[in-house]
Point group: none
Chain length 129, copies 2
Amino acid sequence: MGMLQAGNNHEVMPYRDEHLTMDFNQQAVVLDSERMVLTRKEYDLLAILVLHAGEIIPRDALLMQVWGYGIEIRTRTLDVHVRRLRKKLGGYADQYIETIFGIGYRFQPFHAPRFFQPQPMKPAIAISA
Amino acid sequence: MGMLQAGNNHEVMPYRDEHLTMDFNQQAVVLDSERMVLTRKEYDLLAILVLHAGEIIPRDALLMQVWGYGIEIRTRTLDVHVRRLRKKLGGYADQYIETIFGIGYRFQPFHAPRFFQPQPMKPAIAISA
DNA sequence: AGCCCTTTTTACAAACTTTTTACAGGTTGA
DNA sequence: TCAACCTGTAAAAAGTTTGTAAAAAGGGCT
């Protein structure tokens, strides 16, 4: 089972908006009345994003929570998984999953108001050369 | 006696759909008016799946309930039994017994919708008009 | 024992998932 | 602008799980 099943996430309210429904207990995701078939990692990744809808989740945090990777690990698997999620989200992809350059990603509920991007002048973590 | 007879399962309603009938008291299974001859393990396995029709049953759970195996035991006997059940289910095999990759199996009633079962759920977040 | 049926294991094939690789394209700050 | 990063993407490679046939092992019976 994926990293995310470590704790007990029963009693977690399902997410629902105009197009997307996500039931964290049944691990079922429905997009416009059609079941979204997700692999485990895809599900884990989407779950974290949706559970923190509206929040920016740093790459580090995603790599930690979904993959158990620390910052020392360099991989592109997160990008690839985001791509596959976007593909499965169809036309809503970019509306739902935003890229926050230099930081990470953010899931936005469908009709969420789009504020101006908080301009992250500096990366959260200083990267020494 | 099989693992499944440990508790008392009298008063269990038979399962019935368009093609398949399963009487848990008589331990009789009928497919399209023909009696299905099942061995004990095959019956036990099918019974658990049918009693939880629509639910995904993890491999672990099946190996525990039918074989009494814990997670430390590595065996392919479940796969082999699923195969034999599918064979006996004939053309309906894949319709009835779904493989949930990486998790387990699920029995689906014959005309069950192949996707998420709609159930009343509250939105996780308020959506303002 | 020997027979017959059931169950488990073995070994390999097939299907599926995840990660890496390689490069294209985009973004930022000096 | 431009060099230095970051992210997007397709495809290959690697890893894992399941399907399948056949052999081996187990059990009951006479």
